[in-house]
């Protein structure tokens, strides 16, 4: 076993891409907030990035097999944390998502996402058969189902939904059979009307407005409409950084966070969006490549779990900005302002680095 991974073993292309996205994010956070009472947010975001980088380096040094060994313990911690946040969490924006930790507030579901990536990787890596059996599938559903329900109770539908593609990609790579896939889809379709009843009124609003935004241009549909106006009015070259009226005058909702891409699209135009999306594509493809070159199945599942979660974030967030999906409150990885979310992404990238620097082991 080769001792100690060298600095060259890190995926520098991946890191450069990630920091490029972070840079665009910081720039746009600055632009969106510099003229308001939120001025200074971009500095905070840089601190988060710095802290995230350190955590990434730390987590990359601990052999991922040892981390995966602790999967059951981590899982337990996740469940306890989720119950704790429901019991005594801090309510912000109408949802209980934060736990006071180290003098700040930690968005527990971000931590849970990370743990579930590890748990899922461990679970699927233990499947020895070529094809995924029904028993394994049901077990996977149970493992993911508990935290999913707990997160939905916060309520945080967006994060809860993230767990679904995570499990889906894992199952797919572990040899999901087509008949099972079709059965699951059919079941999901049947469950849709039932699930509807469990949605909170505001969640139903978001879905209905998404389907018919014209009905309520000031209520829930307002956000999507304003986002689309911001994006559309940006044109090809954009209005210039700091010049987006939709952004600067506050028409774009949470323009420094969930809707940051709308602000960017308005100010930097299609050209800016094109660059940003290409960066995300490169980042995701790079993750897949790392999975392909992983030392073993465990590393592959870990890396692909990260890819699934990040990819889902990008898809849902960007689709929301252009009105292709309802408002879910999922941030854009590395670009949206937010401590917990940023730390999560860097920790996840730490896991990927972890796998990468050990690809030549043995």
């Amino acid at each position: 076993m080769r001792q100690g991974a060298s600095i060259h073993d890190y995926d520098w292309w991946l890191l450069i891409t990630a920091y490029a996205i972070c840079g665009i994010g910081v720039l746009e956070i600055w632009s969106a907030t510099h003229a308001s009472h939120l001025a200074g947010m971009h500095t905070h975001q840089m601190y988060w990035i710095l802290l995230g980088t350190i955590l990434m380096l730390v987590i990359s040094r601990v052999d991922y097999h040892r981390i995966m060994d602790q999967a059951p313990v981590l899982y337990l911690i996740a469940i306890v944390a989720l119950i704790a946040v429901l019991a005594m969490g801090h309510t912000r924006f109408g949802a209980k998502r934060w736990l006071p930790i180290l003098g700040g507030f930690l968005q527990v579901s971000e931590l849970v996402k990370l743990i579930i990536i590890i748990v899922m990787a461990r679970f699927f890596a233990e499947v020895r058969t070529e094809e995924l059996g029904l028993g394994d599938l049901l077990k996977a559903a149970a493992v993911i189902g508990l935290p999913l329900v707990l997160i939905m109770r916060q309520p945080d539908l967006g994060t809860a939904l993230v767990l679904v593609p995570l499990a889906a990609i894992g199952a797919y790579l572990a040899g999901l059979q087509w008949k099972h896939a079709i059965a699951i889809l059919a079941l999901a379709a049947l469950m849709l009307p039932v699930g509807w009843h469990f949605l909170k009124p505001y969640q139903k609003d978001r879905v209905t407005t998404f389907l018919r935004p014209e009905d309520d241009p000031r209520g829930a549909g307002y956000q999507i409409l304003q986002s689309k106006i911001a994006v559309g009015s940006g044109g090809f070259w954009g209005k210039g950084l700091g010049n987006g009226s939709q952004n600067q005058l506050g028409f774009v909702p949470v323009r420094y966070s969930d809707f940051i891409l709308a602000a960017l699209a308005e100010e930097l135009g299609f050209a800016g969006v094109f660059v940003a999306l290409l960066l995300y594509m490169f980042l995701l493809l790079r993750l897949v490549q790392n999975a392909q070159r992983a030392h073993d199945r465990a590393g592959m599942f870990l890396t692909m779990g990260v890819a699934a979660v990040l990819g889902f974030h990008v898809l849902v967030n960007v689709a929301m900005v252009i009105g292709y999906m309802p408002v879910t409150g999922i941030p854009l990885p590395l670009m949206s302002y937010g401590g917990s979310a940023t730390l999560f992404v860097f920790l996840a990238l730490g896991l990927v680095m972890n796998v990468r620097i050990r690809r030549f082991v043995n």
């Binding site: 097999h65 890596a125 009226s245 592959m300």
Partner: protein, 640 residues
């Protein structure tokens, strides 16, 4: 350390490759979405963004004021605020309605009515839901900018008629432009504009009405103004100076206050109207905000027709005043000798019917002079029969009756001078000779307006100068000539002098040192048809007095008519004519203090005009209204 999941090298390379394609496909799909919004529909969204960002607030141009001949204000404007509702956010508006209604002290129904009335207008156009905001409304809007962002205030200039109903029928009133007016205006007018609807307000609307300006401001997402793009100042309307003499107007007004009828005073040399009264009347201030429908209906359907300007639209039988036309016709046509006499026993028989003189005892042997002075009916019956209707018609029309005078007011009426042709055309029968007898004393089918009477008397006394009466000081008069011989003029004016100064029907009106002349008239019905229809024949009378001074080439000519009284014209209408003549001479000779007027009743004249440029530029910032105490109640005196 045999961990179960380690070192399993089986890699699902195929499925991993598929995820790569999925990623590329996903990004491509998202880029396609951006391409559609940012490239294909970019213009549309750019417009929407602009509409979000920019709010256009009209700056209403103040309307020009109206001044009397000495520069005293008769009509002006004052700044006030209207409450605007921004409706581009329908869901929000619906939700806030109860709160808005409460805050503006309106009922929810009233508010909904206002909104329903504007259903057809484009959503982005704000509507006025309360035309005149009270100080508490303004405070409400200011303090709820955050939670009720759909309310806005608009500074407007409200029309003010400081003297209330004085001169109302001549001045007219303003109102919201009608759809037809907008269509006919060649896009100079737009819906919502305030325009003159009647009287001088309508006649000189183009001058009085300014051009509205526009302020384009940048607002943020909660509607707060954060910047200003451009401002196009309003061009205030121009003031107009009228020929009205406030002092004479006040004399006429106070006399007519409780009467029904009209008074017109004109400068006999220029055609300038010095005073014009029509009663009953209305208060044009009621129209300055938005007149309630009920009130409008009552004004319109009131049988006493307060909106009718009797001075130019009241068509009434002239009664004995018509005898001046008869006398002129007799002398000018030479159909009868100038020294023609008739014997008046108090009545006369024509075509088998008895026609009475107003004085049952009769006037005895009567020549033209005596006939005018004492208004002998039998004399005029006789000359009327001798001259025939056609000759009477020609002279009446020649002296301006039966046609418009051309005064600068809309909707002037013509009156009627009957003729054989007219009877044939309208009633399809031949002229009854007996009708000529009635017409000879200004009864029967003949109707006139007070303004026609003024013009006719002025023409007779000046040798045939038919002036075009006008209210605008700076007016080019068209004078029409209907030449009368010196003898005719001398004889007829001597007669009218005698009416007052030789113990005639106006003897009680005599004025010291003034050649006050005139002719009374007491017409027995409002008009040929109306009288019959109303069955009031012989009961109610219209009392006329037409007076002027001096006897030849008059400086001032006045016609007054008091309707619905049973008294003689010299008694009912004479005093106001005398008072105006006296007031005119008192002013002229410097005895201003003696002006025959009720000084205490005279409203104080505001010292400033709204056309004062300092006021026009005092466009209050909408966003700063709250800090100004009681905005909208600007004290005009403070601007000097």
């Amino acid at each position: 350390m045999p961990v179960s999941f380690q070192n399993d090298k089986r890699m699902p390379q195929g499925r991993l490759a598929v995820t790569s394609y999925v990623i590329v496909g996903m990004i491509a799909l998202l880029l396609f979405g951006f391409w559609r919004l940012q490239i294909v529909d970019s213009d549309r969204y750019a417009q929407l963004a602009e509409r979000n960002r920019v709010r256009s607030i009209p700056i209403i141009a103040p309307r020009g004021s109206m001044l009397d001949r000495e520069g005293r204000i008769l009509v002006d404007s004052y700044p006030s605020f209207s409450v605007l509702l921004l409706r581009d956010a329908p869901g929000q508006v619906e939700r806030l309605l109860p709160q808005i209604a409460d805050g503006l002290s309106m009922t929810l129904d009233e508010l909904k009515q206002e909104i329903d009335a504007a259903r057809a207008m484009p959503k982005f156009q704000p509507i006025i839901i309360k035309p005149e905001a009270s100080p508490s409304d303004i405070a409400f809007i200011e303090s709820h900018r955050g939670d009720i962002p759909v309310l806005e205030m608009l500074m407007v200039h409200r029309r003010r008629y400081p003297h209330g109903d004085m001169l109302a029928n001549a001045v007219g009133y303003v109102g919201e432009v009608s759809a037809e007016q907008v269509d006919a205006s060649d896009s100079k007018l737009k819906p919502g504009d305030t325009v003159g609807k009647a009287g001088l307000e309508r006649m000189y609307n183009d001058t009085l009405m300014g051009t509205d300006g526009m302020r384009r401001v940048i607002v943020n997402s909660i509607g707060k103004e954060v910047g200003r793009l451009e401002q196009q100042d309003a061009i205030p309307g121009k003031p107009i100076q009228l020929t009205i003499d406030y002092d004479l107007q006040a004399v006429a007004d106070s006399y007519m206050a409780d009467k029904e009828g009209a008074v017109v005073a004109m400068d006999g040399r220029t055609g300038e109207i010095l005073a014009m009264v029509s009663r009953p009347t209305f208060d044009p201030n009621d129209f300055a905000v938005r007149i309630p429908t009920a009130e409008w209906r009552s004004l319109n359907t009131d049988p006493r027709t307060p909106l009718l300007n009797r001075a130019i639209q009241g068509q009434m039988a002239p009664g004995s005043v018509f005898k001046i036309v008869m006398a002129t016709a007799m002398l000018e046509s030479k159909a009868l000798p100038a020294d023609f006499t008739a014997f008046c026993p108090g009545h006369a028989d024509f075509y088998g019917r008895i026609f009475h003189c107003w004085r049952p005892a009769g006037h005895g042997v009567t020549d033209l002079h005596k006939a005018i002075v004492d208004s002998c009916d039998v004399f005029f019956y006789t000359i009327g029969q001798r001259m025939g209707i056609e000759r009477i018609h020609d002279y009446a029309v020649g002296l301006g009756l039966g046609r418009r005078t051309g005064i600068d007011l809309p909707s002037e009426e013509t009156g009627l001078v009957p003729s054989e042709e007219w009877v044939q055309r309208v009633f399809h029968h031949k002229w009854y000779a007996g009708e000529t007898i009635s017409v000879s004393i200004g009864q029967g089918a003949v109707t006139v307006t007070p303004i026609q009477m003024v013009r006719m008397i002025a023409a007779v006394a000046s040798g045939g100068e038919l002036l075009q009466p006008h209210l605008l000081k700076n007016f080019t008069t068209k004078t029409e000539r209907f030449p009368l011989s010196e003898e005719t003029v001398e004889q007829v004016t001597q007669g009218m002098y005698g009416v007052i100064n030789e113990g005639g029907t106006g003897a009680s009106l005599k004025l010291q040192n003034i050649e006050f002349s005139g002719k009374s008239g007491t017409a027995q019905l409002m008009s040929y048809e109306a009288g019959n229809r109303m069955g009031k024949k012989g009961k109610e009378t219209n009392g006329w007095f037409v007076g002027y001074a001096p006897r030849r080439n008059p400086e001032i000519v006045i016609a007054a008519v008091v309707q619905g009284s049973s008294e003689h014209g010299g008694t009912t209408a004479g005093p106001v004519v005398r008072d105006i003549v006296k007031a005119y001479y008192d002013k002229k000779t410097g005895h201003k203090d003696q002006i025959y007027t009720v000084k205490d009743k005279r409203p104080e004249i505001l010292p400033t005009s709204v056309n004062d440029p300092t006021l026009a530029n005092r466009q209050t910032d909408l966003g700063q209204v709250g800090g100004q105490g009681a905005p909208g109640i600007a004290n005009p005196k403070a601007t000097r």
